[in-house]
């Protein structure tokens, strides 16, 4: 009787899961579509009581304006440079740290992880001012290095936590086997552990890159003459430029889509399949 019930339930789940997935995908994509639509539509199509869903009057005017303004590339360049270096430094610092933490005794490990998160218990807005004061004293205002360091403050605890989880899933036996075969601990780490951890590292890098790319609070405090892209969006929101806001927000989303697509091949759930026989 129970088996029949389970089968029926399974059939129902199978039947509704695909339509639900379609609905979820549509719900996710519609806001992005509207953003793009606003950026390529004539004002008359958007600024009306009942805007249409489809694009009727296509225009490149808003994009031309943004591209011609001379404000896009410096902001884009700054955001891209800062996000890339933040991700790079975060991986370089957090990977060995996470590996070590993952191999610690359980009790010690959790104390370390909790202490990492202790730094994240305060809202950014609360700690941004004292940090900014220090950075201004060190001449780091309006510099990429200052912003990278500020972003690392925020990102390192998270990326370390993510990577600790990754390294925990890699059996110690794999390293031991490699060391029995003559590899040093470092060699075992580089040749065995890191390649297996690549999907996790890719996810962590992507996560840090995205967070840095979209970061606003520190950028606001530590930028004077050079904006990042989120600050440009903020500027147009503040100044009421509907179409420039949509255009900049679309531009902000493009690298995110490209980088996610480029890294997706590393995001496999079965990366450990067959590692141990």
């Amino acid at each position: 009787m129970n088996e029949i019930k389970k089968d029926k339930f399974g059939t129902v789940v199978n039947k509704i899961s695909f339509p639900l997935l379609i609905l979820f995908t549509i719900a996710t994509l519609i806001p992005i579509y509207i953003l793009i639509k606003v950026s390529i539509s004539k004002p008359a199509d958007v600024l009306t009581q009942h805007p249409t869903f489809l694009i009727h009057n296509f225009t490149t005017k808003h994009w031309s304006k943004v591209l011609a303004s001379g404000k896009l590339w410096p902001a884009f360049n700054r955001s891209f440079t800062v996000a890339s270096f933040t991700a790079l430094f975060a991986i370089i610092i957090a990977t060995p740290a996470s590996y070590v933490i993952s191999r610690l005794d359980k009790k010690v490990k959790y104390v370390v992880i909790l202490s990492l998160f202790f730094t994240r218990m305060f809202p950014n807005v609360g700690i941004a001012l004292p940090i900014s004061v220090k950075f201004i004293k060190w001449n780091l205002i309006d510099s990429n290095l200052g912003l990278v360091l500020a972003h690392l403050i925020e990102q390192l605890p998270f990326i370390t936590w993510i990577l600790v989880g990754t390294f925990e899933t890699i059996p110690v036996d794999l390293e031991k086997s490699a060391m029995i075969d003559g590899a040093s601990r470092i060699r075992a780490l580089i040749s065995i552990v890191i390649p297996i951890a690549t999907p996790g590292i890719a996810v962590a890098a992507l996560y840090v890159w995205l967070n840095s790319w979209n970061e606003f609070t520190y950028a606001l405090y530590l930028s004077l003459s050079e904006n990042t892209l989120p600050l440009q969006v903020y500027y147009y929101i503040n100044r009421g430029g509907f179409f420039q806001t949509a255009t900049y927000a679309t531009i902000l989303a493009i690298p995110v889509a490209l980088i996610t697509y480029a890294l997706q091949k590393h995001l496999k759930s079965d990366s450990l399949g067959g590692a141990i026989k």
Binding site: V46, L224, F243
Partner: protein, 413 residues
């Protein structure tokens, strides 16, 4: 394929490294170069894109040439400016030489000691500056800011919708109520909005209603204030639901997307809605009168010098330049800003003329807000009273007596 990927990766890494480090180098080099040739004056303003264009192309060059200086323009919004100056002051490293700031956000700059006392430089204010603009920069009888840009809200309406229902923009309170009633009746939804976010935006509107009825917002339970709040209690029933979210920014969206047909905003809205948004049916309406008079709140921007500014002398020169007849006339003709001087005239673009006329009409009846040290209490009291009276339907006189007592207590502290 693998070697190709390696080449691409190496290229990207090199580009990034060069971008990061060469960028720093070139910036430093540029600074060094500028140091040798001319001084740098860092000027903070909060402007729209088209306004920046005018500043960079028409206003700054003459000053730069005359003073052998390079102006570095900084776009900083009024609230962000306070936090940035705070951080710089605390770090004892002021990176901004001169600021222009919205006169609705001055008290905090003074309270936190972020701006210089300019009392001894009062004579720099030209005699032709409109006298009512000067007190805006005074706190406790000291001058902290100098006038440079007066501003005032104007009423905007959707001409097509008004024509559709045979309506005309209201000229007094009775007509305003009638328009609000009619639109709600015809559309089933309120289409008149005031800025009802219950913050500084709403305070501006409340000041105007109270003064139009002959009241004093700092007293709050006088006859005029009672009349104003009684009227608002009645009007609120017919207002757009967007009223609760309408501020200086969102009002543009509501007018542009036709969820509101009548509302007030600062003149920058015209660039956003009419020029960029191509909504030519959004027209200006003259200020309506209350039971006693017409009244608008005098807004705008003033000039200040941050404490620790490294270029004070140049900053004072630039201050004078911004108040000069020549500069004021550029600001009038190129941006459609009302002049801060009585002798500055300019011809605005044709499409801007009706809006400019509305601004000038409103400026004639504009009154400054008082600079009192207990401003935060007044601000909160006015808005809390509106919430209780208009939204919760409480008794007008009783509520105003309660909040008048709170203001009085703050005044006597």
């Amino acid at each position: 394929m693998k070697s190709f990927k390696k080449v691409v990766s190496l290229f990207l890494i090199s580009a990034l490294a060069l971008g990061a480090f060469a960028g720093c180098g070139s910036k430093e080099a540029a600074k060094e170069e500028v140091k040798e040739e001319a001084k740098v004056l860092r000027v903070s303003m909060a402007l729209g894109e088209s306004e920046w264009e005018v500043m960079k192309e028409k206003v700054f060059p003459k000053f730069e040439e005359a003073n052998n200086v390079k102006i570095e323009p900084l776009q900083i919004e009024p609230t962000d400016l306070i936090t940035k100056l705070e951080a710089m002051k605390e770090a004892d490293k002021m990176e901004i030489d001169i600021i222009t700031q919205d006169n609705m956000a001055l008290a905090q700059l003074v309270d936190k000691g972020l701006v210089e006392d300019l009392s001894e430089y009062r004579e720099l204010i030209p005699a032709e500056i409109i006298p009512s603009l000067v007190p805006v920069g005074e706190f406790s009888d000291k001058l902290f800011f100098m006038p440079y840009r007066p501003n005032v809200e104007i009423n905007l309406y959707n001409e097509n919708k008004f024509n559709e229902y045979g309506l005309k923009p209201p000229t007094n309170w009775d007509e305003l109520l009638e328009v609000a009633k009619t639109l709600k009746e015809k559309e089933g939804l309120g289409r008149v909005a005031i800025k009802g976010t219950l913050d500084a935006n709403t305070t501006v509107q409340l000041f105007e209603f109270i003064r139009q009825a002959g009241g004093d917002p700092l007293v709050l339970n006088d006859e005029g204030s009672v009349k104003a709040y009684t009227f608002l209690q009645e009007l609120y029933k017919y207002l757009s639901p967007d009223t609760k979210k309408a501020d200086w920014n969102t009002m543009n969206k509501y007018l542009a997307t036709e969820s509101v047909y009548y509302g007030a905003n600062w003149p920058f809205a015209v660039n956003v809605i009419v020029k960029d948004g191509e909504k030519e049916e959004i027209k200006p309406a003259m200020s309506f009168t209350g039971p006693v008079k017409k009244s608008r709140v005098l807004g705008g921007e003033v000039i200040g010098i941050p404490v620790g500014s490294q270029n004070k002398e140049l900053a004072f020169e630039f201050m004078k330049y911004l108040m000069s007849k020549e500069t004021q006339e550029i600001l009038v003709s190129e941006m459609g800003w009302p002049a801060a001087r009585t002798d500055a005239y300019g011809e605005v673009e044709e499409w801007q003329q009706p809006y400019f006329a509305a601004v000038n009409e409103a400026i004639q009846v504009a009154e400054a807000r008082p600079n009192v040290v207990y401003w935060d209490v007044v601000d909160k009291a006015l808005n809390d009273a509106l919430r209780e009276i208009a939204i919760e339907g409480k008794d007008v006189k009783e509520t105003l007596d309660k909040y008048a007592a709170i203001i009085e207590e703050a005044k006597n502290k």
